[in-house]
Symmetry: C2
Subunit: 543 residues, 2 copies
C-alpha cells in the first residue's frame, strides 16, 4: 500500500524558492573579487540565477550537461550554482589549488561545455584554454567594466548574461535523483575520480546539516562559509543558508586572518565553518592584534584533525563553541560531528574535551561500521580499530563513468580508506589511513599514533612510521626520525621514550635517523615515497 | 543524467536502528498505565519492537494491513508503532476522545485487523467489540499480571507477544512511499476521513522538525511529548526523539498539571510540546503551589491559538521559551512555527511579542500561499486575508480510499479550510475558518476578529459572529451576545464598543442577545448550528 502524500521532489531549486518566498529581503554580503564589499538579497539572487539559467539555455546547455565553476565563495558563484542545477545541468566545481594539468584532465573527463571563472584564474586559463577542448564558452564572473582587462578570446561577461538572460525558465520539474553536482576527489593514487551528487542527496544533506546537533543554522544566524564552494558542497552551507533564511557573508578570495576577522566583526557573523589552517590564521591574527570576537558563537572545523590547542583557544579564550566534524567528498561531505550527548555531558570535563577532539558521531542519515580485512564487524569499544565504512542517502554509490569499479560492500557501505575506532559513546576517531596501517601478526598498529608520540620527543623535528615486510609477522613498524638541527640521538633513546605509552608489540623494530622526511602536497608525510625509498631495507634480525 | 549516490530509502525503521546503534543506552521513561514509572532504553525498545513485529507476522499481519492503536504515550506504544511500521503494515492511531460510534466507523473504514489497546479503554472495547468486525485480534498493552483483570474474550497480552515473538524479522526493504501511518481527521462535517502517511513523509517530517528553527531537539535534550501519539504523529516527536538520541519522558494517561510537573522536575525535562489547555493546567498548578520550573527550557504550543497571557507567563515568569506552531492532521502535522528571523529581531519588543502569537512561518519543505475564491494569489501584506493553501512532501495528496475526491488545486496545494493573512516577515496568522468567514460585497470579514473583540465587553459572557444573507452585499455580519448573569445591554452599547477597533464596513448589521450560544465538542462556538437556528432571521432593513 502506498501512502497518500504529495509528490514534492527534493530538487535544490526549491531551496532558493523558499529563500525568495520567506526570506526575500535577507542579505548576502560578498567581498568581491574586484575588491569592494557588495550586497544582494535572496530575492535578487533568485532573480539573477533565473536569468543566468535563461542565458545558459541560450548558450545551448541542456539537462545533464556539465557546467564548470572555477571560483571563490561569492554571491555570483551561488547564482551560478542555482542557475546550473535549476535546469538540471550538472554544476562541476573545480578546485583552483590543483595543478593546471589536473584541471585540464578533470575538465576533459567531465566534458564540461561551459566554464565560469573568477578574474583570479585568468592567467591559468590563458595558458591552458586550448587544452580544454570540451569547453565551448568561458564566462568571466565580472561586469562589463571588469571585462576590459580580460585577455581571453571569446570570453563572455557574467553580468551581461544575467542582464540579457530570459528569466522565464522552469526550474526543477525533473526526478529528484537527477544529477546536480560533480566534484573530483583529490586522488592521492591514480587519476582523480568524480563524485556525482544528485538533487536528492544535496537536499537531504541540507536537512541533515540543519539539525540542531549538526550545523544547526537558524534564520537569526549570520553565516560565513570559509569552507570553499569549490569543494564538497561547501559542507552544505550554500544550501542551508537559503534553506533557513540566514544572512550569508561570502569571503571571496581573501582568507587570511585579518580579512576574515574584518568580515566577522563588520557583518556580525555568528556561525562559520572552515578547515583548521584558516582558524589557525585567524587565531594568529587575534593574538597579534589583541582583537576580540564580539559576535561569533559557533564554528565547525573539519577537513583535517583539530589540534587541541586550537580548540582550547577558541573555546576558553574567545568563548566560541567549536565542533569538530569529519567527512569526505564522497559523503557530500557530512559524516560525523563531535557533539555532546546527555551521556557525555555526565563525564569529567577533561574526558569531554578528549571526545570533542575525536571526529565524532553520525547524525541520522549516516550509517557507520568498522570492519576487519574480511569485512566482519568489529566492536565499538574505543580500542579496536578497523576499516571505517559509511552508508547513507548522501554517500557515493559509484564514481563518475564507473571509474574505480564497484565501490560498495555487500551491505552497501562505502570504504572510506580510513582506519578508525568507535567508542561506547558512539564517537569515531580516525587512527590511520588504511594503506598506512601496519598489519602485524593479524593485528593492526596505527602508524599515526606512534609517529605523533615520537614527534613529541624533544630532539625530534619530524617523525614517520611505516610498515616493513617481516617473514613471520607480515609487517613490523619502523620509525623514521628527522632530528632538530644540531641534535644527535640513539635508537634506544626513542624506544625508551615510547615505552609505556604504547603496547609493547607496537614498539618499532628499528629507528632510522634521516636527513629529511618527504611531505606531500597537503603537508602530510608522503608514506608512499617513504615505502619506495625503503624498498631494499631489511629489518634487524631478518635474514 | 542520474546522480551516483546510494539508494537509501527513507523508511522509519532506520530511525530506530540509528537510536539503537548510536544511543542504545539512552533512557525512555514512562508513567505506565498500571501506575509505576518504568524505564527502558532505545536498545531494549528496538529489540522489543522487533519481537513484536515477529509476533504480528505470526498473527498473520502482512504488508499494507492496518493495525490500530488506542493508547496513551508510553514506551509500549512506541514499540507498537515501530513494530507495525517496520514490517510495512500501517499504524492506525485511534483518538480515544472520539465517541465509540465514530471509533467503530473508523475501524471499519480502515479495516483494521489487529487492535492494540491500553487498559484504560477496556470498558469501551467490552461494549463495542462486536461491532469491530474487521478486528481479528485485540492486544492489551500490559503484562500477564495486568491481564488478570481483563474481561475481554480472546484478548492477547502485549508482554507475552513480545517475549515469544521472533526477533529475526526484516524491517524496511520496501519503497519509501509505502504507507506507514493512518490518522482520521476529526471531521466537523461529514464522516471522518483518513490521512495516510508514508515512510517518506514521516522521515522528511522528522528532518523538518529536527532543524534548529523548528523543534530543534538535541541529543542533550530530555523530551516530554504531551501531544498524543494518537493524533498526527505526536508532532513527529516519537521520530525525532530516537533520531537525535534524546531522552524521552512519556506521560501515559495522566496529563493534569501536578502529574506533568512531577515528571518535568523528576526527569529533568528540557523540551516539551502540547496543546494550550495542557499548558494552562500546568500554569494553574505552578501558581497554586508556587513551584518553579528548574530544567524546562523550551516548549512548543500548537493545536489551537496560544493566548497571550499564557505565552507571557511562561516566558516572563518562568523563563521558558515558547514557540507557537500550527499544523493539521493532513500536514503530518508541521505547517508553521513562530520563530524569529534576523529581520524580526530588529523590531520593537512589543511587535515581536505580537509576531510570536501568530501561527508563524513555514520551514523548508512547506510551501504556503493565500488565494481568493478564484484561486488567484493574494499579497503577503499582513492585511489581505485569503484561503490558506499548503504544499509539501509531508502534506496529503488525497484521503484514504479517495474520500472527499480530489483535494489539490492545479498547483498541487491542499486547501486548509482556514482563512489567514501573511505579513511581510512571512508570519502567517489564521483569521477564520473558510466556512465562517463573512463575504460582504466581494470582500471578506473575519467573524473571529469581531467576536474576540466583542467578548472583551465587560457585560459579555460569550460572543459569536455569523454571516447572514443580504440581497445587496451577499452576506452581512450579525453579532450574538450571551450576557453575564444579571446584566442587560443595548445593541448600541456593543456597536459603540466595537467602533474604531474594526473597519466601519465590518460593523455588524445587528446585535442579538441570546440565552445561550451552542458550543461544539471541542469547546468552540458551533456556527453551523447557529446558522441553522437563524435560518429564518431577516436583517434589519431587508424586506
Amino acid at each position: 500500500m502506498q501512502g497518500l502524500m504529495q509528490d514534492w521532489p527534493l530538487t535544490v531549486d526549491r531551496i532558493l524558492d523558499h529563500a525568495r518566498d520567506w526570506h526575500g529581503g535577507q542579505e548576502i554580503v560578498t567581498r568581491s573579487i574586484e575588491g569592494p564589499i557588495v550586497r544582494t538579497t535572496y530575492a535578487e539572487l533568485h532573480d539573477r540565477a533565473k536569468r543566468l539559467s535563461g542565458a545558459l539555455k541560450a548558450l545551448g546547455v541542456q539537462t545533464g550537461d556539465r557546467v564548470a565553476t572555477l571560483a571563490w565563495n561569492t554571491a555570483r558563484h551561488m547564482e551560478a550554482w542555482y542557475a546550473i542545477m535549476g535546469i538540471g545541468a550538472v554544476c562541476h566545481t573545480l578546485n583552483p589549488r590543483l595543478h593546471p594539468d589536473q584541471l585540464c584532465f578533470i575538465i576533459g573527463d567531465a566534458q564540461d561545455t561551459v566554464l565560469f571563472t573568477d578574474l583570479t584564474f585568468l592567467p591559468v586559463l590563458r595558458g591552458y584554454r586550448d587544452r580544454m577542448t570540451s569547453v565551448k564558452h568561458v564566462v568571466v564572473m565580472t561586469d562589463e567594466a571588469g571585462m576590459a582587462g580580460v585577455d581571453l578570446p571569446g570570453a563572455l561577461c557574467f553580468e551581461t548574461l544575467v542582464r540579457e538572460g530570459d528569466p522565464d525558465v522552469t526550474w526543477g520539474d525533473f526526478p529528484e535523483n537527477t544529477a546536480a553536482g560533480l566534484c573530483y576527489t583529490s586522488g592521492t593514487t591514480g587519476d582523480p575520480k568524480g563524485v556525482l551528487y544528485s538533487h536528492r542527496s544535496n537536499f537531504l544533506l541540507t536537512f541533515i546539516t540543519m539539525a540542531r546537533d549538526a550545523m544547526g543554522v537558524s534564520a537569526t544566524d549570520v553565516v560565513l562559509p570559509v569552507v570553499p564552494m569549490f569543494h564538497a558542497n561547501a559542507w552544505g552551507v550554500a544550501f542551508s543558508g537559503p534553506a533557513t533564511g540566514a544572512k550569508m557573508v561570502l569571503p571571496g578570495a581573501r582568507l587570511d586572518g585579518a580579512s576574515i576577522y574584518e568580515l566577522l566583526e563588520a557583518e556580525g557573523v555568528t556561525f562559520s565553518a572552515a578547515v583548521p589552517t584558516v582558524w589557525q590564521m585567524l587565531l594568529g591574527h587575534l593574538r597579534e592584534t589583541g582583537a576580540r570576537l564580539s559576535t561569533l558563537k559557533r564554528v565547525v572545523i573539519g577537513g583535517a584533525a583539530v589540534p587541541e590547542a586550537l580548540l582550547r583557544a577558541f573555546e576558553d579564550e574567545y568563548g566560541v563553541q567549536v565542533t569538530h566534524a569529519w567527512g569526505m567528498t564522497e559523503t557530500s561531505p557530512l559524516g560525523t560531528l563531535a557533539r555532546p550527548t546527555s551521556a557525555t555531558l555526565r563525564l569529567d570535563d577533561a574526558v569531554q574535551k578528549q571526545l570533542a577532539l575525536k571526529q565524532g558521531r553520525p547524525p541520522l542519515g549516516v550509517d557507520l561500521k568498522l570492519v576487519d580485512d574480511e569485512g566482519r564487524r568489529l566492536p565499538h569499544d574505543g580500542e579496536t580499530f578497523g576499516r571505517l565504512m559509511i552508508r547513507g542517502p548522501a554517500v557515493s554509490s559509484a564514481y563518475f563513468k564507473g571509474a574505480g569499479g564497484a565501490i560498495l560492500d555487500e551491505e552497501g557501505f562505502f570504504d572510506t580508506g580510513d582506519v578508525a575506532t568507535i567508542d561506547p559513546y558512539g564517537f569515531m576517531q580516525i587512527t590511520d589511513r588504511a594503506k598506512d596501517v601496519i598489519k602485524s601478526g593479524g593485528e593492526w598498529i596505527s602508524s599515526i599514533a606512534i609517529e605523533n608520540l615520537a614527534a613529541g620527543h624533544p630532539k625530534a623535528a619530524l617523525a614517520a612510521v611505516i610498515g616493513v615486510a617481516h617473514p613471520k609477522w607480515d609487517e613490523r613498524p619502523v620509525l623514521l626520525v628527522k632530528l632538530r638541527p644540531g641534535e644527535s640521538a640513539t635508537k634506544e633513546e626513542f624506544l625508551d621514550f615510547l615505552a609505556g605509552k604504547i603496547a609493547k608489540w607496537w614498539t618499532p623494530d628499528d629507528v632510522l635517523f634521516v636527513d629529511d622526511i618527504p611531505l606531500g602536497a597537503t603537508g602530510k608525510v608522503d608514506k608512499k615515497r617513504l615505502r619506495a625509498d625503503l624498498a631494499d631495507y631489511v629489518l634487524p634480525g631478518v635474514a
